[in-house]
């Protein structure tokens, strides 16, 4: 047999130790022990590259954007608008007009609720969400439904924490004007069949909004392939700064929507009789924006792309499988959320021990996890638990850290006898 003379394109093995060296915080100690940070689904840590980019902007380029003719203002504007284009490329939006900077996922969803839904919907119209949603994708719809008399419907989940797709489809009707769904459940890690959800919404003439907060660090999200109408996410889950996020919106929709907040930057002209609005995307960015945040987000996207999102996802998936198997070996552990497709999140309970006690004992061992309702109280109610403990993994998580989690959980069992 002839040997294949073409050299195989062998991907570099994923070097998690090299990745860890980029994250200064990972070398610190907590309560005299090495930090084991397993709470990246709440907020990921930032690499030196992001810290440096923000630092450089603050030290050398800061001024207000879109205003001055002076050099610094122009530099700041270039940095800010350059970051917008970096985001556009990362999510494959058609144009920077479709990239609105927000404070985070929550603000993006509220923007759509208060601008699009409030001006377009009324009594008899329905907004359909899923039972897996974070409060950020429930409460803005409750608020707007209260204001306009529309109805909020909820598609149910099964005992694995998966959307029951038939029941979801059965709830779609000509009354459905918007489907708002998470791409990945923050409380359980379930990856929702988002493309099918979007297509089903469109088939029924409804728009689709995606809460992408938990998906953006774990998977390549392509706006043109996904065909969502709105997609909201935060930088701080993607190794970027807090206080900055992005709302992607289809240009024609954004164009037709009224402004949400009024102020500087979002106007073209103001008189006491009437004001006119700026072009997209600035129409939705009233007030001085978070420039250093945008710069940090762009740096985070550079960082993630350099590592390779696919390589990160494969690394995390390996950890998820390893941790799931290891946790199952601990007597009394029940994993909450056993969907076939999950992101790097494990929610669990330990028989006879409240998650809050687990969290405190793990913390004393240096292991940081999230305990509580994860801003998803309806999910907790569905599984009839007051709270869960949740470990989540990121590009810098190691198998050794999973082992530390398991050892600390055995310590919990020891304390509680």
């Amino acid at each position: 047999m002839a040997a294949n003379l073409m050299p195989a394109r062998v991907a570099q093995p994923y070097d998690v130790e090299r990745v860890r060296r980029d994250f200064p915080i990972l070398s610190r100690e907590v309560h005299g022990r090495k930090l084991v940070y397993l709470d990246s689904a709440a907020s990921s840590q930032r690499p030196q590259q992001v810290i440096d980019a923000v630092d450089r902007y603050e030290k050398y380029s800061h001024a207000n954007v879109h205003r001055g003719v002076h050099a610094l203002s122009q530099e700041a504007t270039e940095a800010f608008e350059g970051a917008r284009d970096r985001v556009r490329r990362f999510i494959n939006a058609r144009s920077t007009k479709e990239v609105i900077f927000t404070r985070g996922t929550t603000e993006g969803i509220n923007l759509v609720a208060q601008s699009w839904a409030r001006s377009r919907l009324g009594p008899g119209d329905e907004i359909l969400i899923t039972a897996l949603e974070h409060h950020a994708n429930i409460v803005p719809w409750q608020l707007v439904c209260e204001q306009i008399g529309a109805t909020l419907k909820v598609a149910p989940i099964d005992k694995h924490g998966e959307l029951i797709f038939d029941r979801f489809e059965a709830l779609l009707s000509p009354r459905t004007k918007l489907v708002a769904a998470a791409h990945v459940s923050n409380a359980l890690g379930t990856i929702l069949p988002i493309k099918r959800i979007i297509d089903a919404a469109h088939k029924h003439g409804a728009l689709a909004l995606v809460d992408g907060a938990q998906a953006i660090p774990h998977a390549r999200v392509d706006m043109q392939a996904l065909d969502a109408d709105f997609y909201s996410f935060s930088a701080h889950k993607l190794y970027g700064p807090t206080g900055i996020g992005v709302l992607y919106g289809r240009e024609a929709l954004l164009e037709a929507m009224p402004p949400w907040q009024g102020g500087g930057d979002m106007i073209r002209s103001v008189t006491f009789a009437k004001s006119t609005w700026n072009d997209l995307p600035w129409k939705f960015e009233a007030g001085t924006p978070n420039m250093s945040g945008a710069v940090g987000l762009a740096a985070a996207m550079d960082y993630v792309d350099a590592l390779g999102l696919e390589a990160i996802a494969a690394h995390e998936h390996g950890l998820l499988e390893y941790a799931t198997a290891e946790l199952k070996r601990i007597p009394g552990i029940e994993i909450i959320g056993t969907a076939a497709h999950k992101a790097a999140v494990i929610s669990f309970t330990l028989q006879g021990v409240h998650p809050h006690d687990i969290g405190t004992i793990l913390d004393a061992e240096g292991v940081a996890i999230r305990t509580g309702h994860h801003c998803a109280m309806p999910v907790m109610d569905f599984f009839e638990v007051p709270a869960t403990a949740r470990a989540s993994f990121a590009c810098y998580t190691t198998r050794g850290e999973v082992d530390a989690l398991v050892a600390a959980l055995n310590k919990v069992r020891e304390v509680f006898g």
């Binding site: 309560h31 021990v353 409240h354 998650p355 809050h356 006690d357 405190t360 004992i361 004393a364 305990t371 509580g372 309702h373 109280m377 907790m380 007051p386 709270a387 304390v415 509680f416 006898g417």
Partner: protein, 151 residues
């Protein structure tokens, strides 16, 4: 901070076998407490004789600290009048928040809660039952049942 200061044997014991657990039928005072941060919920029901607590029971779901604290509280307040309870509340509050406080000798078992102050995130767990008790007693003259939240 030492875990064994937080999870003392008496606390683990009251968590495992909570005393006065349940509801009193036709109580003279009743209140629900809720700690949204950790999802802890408890209901206190009280039988009064004048302003003296004749009987008290609690029901709910919570962490070891909140369960043990509620259990020990019910034991501690039975038979006490409002003034004595207020005094006890003040001493427990000091114990939970003042790093330098030396447990008052009349705290009895409640002194086991002194380890909680090393764990600021857990102080609310221990104090939830006391705030709920306050709400129940204040409401005992009023008509509507009370709800307190530690957020």
């Amino acid at each position: 901070m030492e875990l064994k200061d937080l999870y003392r044997d008496v606390i683990l014991d009251h968590n495992k076998r909570p005393r006065n657990f349940g509801l009193i039928e036709h109580p003279d005072a009743r209140a629900d407490g809720h700690n949204p941060l950790c999802g802890d919920r408890l209901t206190l029901s009280i039988k009064l004789n004048g302003d003296r607590v004749e009987d008290v029971r609690f029901e709910g779901k919570g962490c070891a600290i909140s369960t043990a604290s509620a259990s020990m509280m019910t034991e501690a307040i039975k038979g006490k009048d409002r003034a004595a309870i207020d005094e006890l509340f003040h001493k427990v509050h000091t114990l939970l928040t003042d790093q330098a406080a030396v447990p008052s000798p009349d705290l009895g078992k409640l002194a086991a809660l002194s380890g909680v102050r090393e764990f600021p995130a857990r102080v609310k767990c221990a104090s939830l039952c006391w705030h709920t008790l306050n709400a129940a007693l204040e409401q005992s003259d009023a008509a509507a049942p009370a709800t307190v939240s530690t957020e």
